[in-house]
């Protein structure tokens, strides 16, 4: 599974993307956040602040409860600020 980070989250984590193989018990976006937080303490810190880390699964915005079944790419980023 490919993980991507954007904006200041990318800077904090220190990588733009990485390939990971989460264990089978990681089945949701929330679970993936926790699992990645172990690897990247600064990602865990950011996730601890409510509403700050948003996600997309296969390029669709996704809530914490979203299932990862079949997911090939998950992205994490702060709230968007375009336009």
């Amino acid at each position: 599974m490919r993980i991507r980070y954007f904006a200041w989250l990318r800077q904090r984590v220190g990588v733009a993307e990485e390939e990971v193989e989460p264990p089978p018990e990681v089945t949701t976006v929330a679970g993936l956040k926790s699992w990645l937080g172990v690897r990247h303490p600064r990602f865990a810190e950011a996730c601890a602040a409510a509403g700050v880390v948003r996600a997309a699964v296969d390029q669709e915005f996704a809530e914490d409860g979203r299932s990862l079944a079949g997911a090939r790419e998950v992205a994490f980023f702060p709230p968007v600020t375009g336009g």
Binding site: A7, A56, Q59, F77, P78, P79, V80, T81, G82, G83
Partner: protein, 153 residues
Amino acid sequence: MTVRIAPAPFEPARELETFARGRVDVGGIASFVGLVRGEHAGARVLAMTLEHYPGMTERQLERIAAEARARWPLQDLLIVHRVGRMLPGEPIVLVATASAHRAAALEACAFLIDWLKTRAPFWKLEETPAGERWVEARAEDDAAAARWQRAAE
């Protein structure tokens, strides 16, 4: 219907000229151009860089454009969104809508820019004399986007 990510500076006037050319079927064309401001949140802005999520960005823009066409009788619409580094005064985004009805063109234009700001994966990084800073999302942008939600969802 055209949706485009522009990695280099673009000229809204030229885009609008092309968009309007030869149209005898529309009553009006509404447009909105967002520009880089030379000052923001109390600091001088020397430059701004827009990061985005290639792939997802195009997808979201297409989706937002399709939503506008579903809601208003539009003859055509255009979205051009810059990415990369730009200077104060440079255009960030252009939205244009063509319709037989001016209210439809204007409302769709407002809708598009509101949804672009809250539903497309862009992030602004400002360079100020004190260093770089990421622009924070604003509650009022969420509120502006939410007013379109009640109508259809």
